[in-house]
Symmetry: C2
Subunit: 246 residues, 2 copies
Amino acid sequence: MRMKCRVEYDGTKFAGYQIQPNGRTVQEELENALTKMHKGTTIKVTASGRTDAGVHAKGQIIHFDTFLELPEFNWKRALSTLLPADIQIAEVNEAEADFHARYDTSGKEYRYFIWNAVDPNLFRRNYTCHIRRKLDVAAMQQACSYIKGEHDFTSFCSTRTDIKGSKVRTITKAELIQDEEELCFVFEGTGFLYNMVRILVGTLIEIGMGERKPEVIPSMIEAENREAAGKTAPAQGLFLWKVHYA
Amino acid sequence: MRMKCRVEYDGTKFAGYQIQPNGRTVQEELENALTKMHKGTTIKVTASGRTDAGVHAKGQIIHFDTFLELPEFNWKRALSTLLPADIQIAEVNEAEADFHARYDTSGKEYRYFIWNAVDPNLFRRNYTCHIRRKLDVAAMQQACSYIKGEHDFTSFCSTRTDIKGSKVRTITKAELIQDEEELCFVFEGTGFLYNMVRILVGTLIEIGMGERKPEVIPSMIEAENREAAGKTAPAQGLFLWKVHYA
């Protein structure tokens, strides 16, 4: 039986989602908990995609196969006792036998939170990027409008990517929501390149600081060159918010 | 010169405010940072009062004496490089030479946050108390109205207190604010006994769950007996929010 789960995690103390030789990962914690539940039978999980060290998730989706038959509530309870405090199974559902958490995604939503005030916010320090200088919200909103649509996002993709094919992606939503000192960028799209949201946000911050004009976005996109865009914003403000399946 | 500071801290990884032989404390971190700033001259700090392990502060007030003459901004910058990420100096001001952070307090405000939903909130886990069962907000608000005023709060004081004198205190504000799934109790008063807010909240939670009626509060107060009141709510929902000076 194939199970689909929505997983939340606080990325602060993880070396990222994907298992690696050194460092604590979300995938390893999930597989360890599931393997314990299955009395030692190794259970492998597949996620919609990886997230980097320090990046959080509200809506990461994983799937795995099981021979256990349990109601949703029991899955959640059993896993919550086996998982560490910084990972949580928010939803468990039986999926179609051929459901695939990565191949079946039709889109994703990321959110990026900025604490924009002179003094840092101690209680949001792991979940926001602190920018002391007052950002120009209107300029950043204007810049967002140029990001929306189908573009080749080579300029907004880390050169450490392993993607060989097309870097054309469709961004269906690029918005900035302000809630007093906290700013939230919302990006929704059919797909995202490596570090794409963090490079977009880093560039938008430079625009918000007045270091670049909002109108530079189209020419940055046209450049198809990572050096044309801004810096990569830090990981701790980024959340994988939702994964869409058609 | 006497300095007055407003200090914020995330109590999660502290064994409390006050220095103790075992465990990391806020006071020790503050004194270590100040002693470094004073090139090894020991600087002692005095706080408005102690907070327990796991309790947070937005508005803890401390004072200390210094021979350094620095503008406020430099104090904050120097201390922020010397202090760990979970303590922050929010304000620094020169005080009157006889200002005393503990003796001069005229009142305090505490806030207690509850996450009231079936699923826990991963990103608020260290700053809220999670209650799965839907709480009766109106009943808890009614109960709050009986807490306001001048009463002997012996029933709401831990038996581990070292107070020998009167346990009469005046509560000037006892309110419950609801923001969707997050509830916030606000208590303001001339003084608080040991564990008083946590025992009040523990009792209010029992009322919110329907285990006790709001009307029991007056008789609980009259009992002048810790056993008459409810359980002590966990530390992580509690914030020392403000300290008042006349």
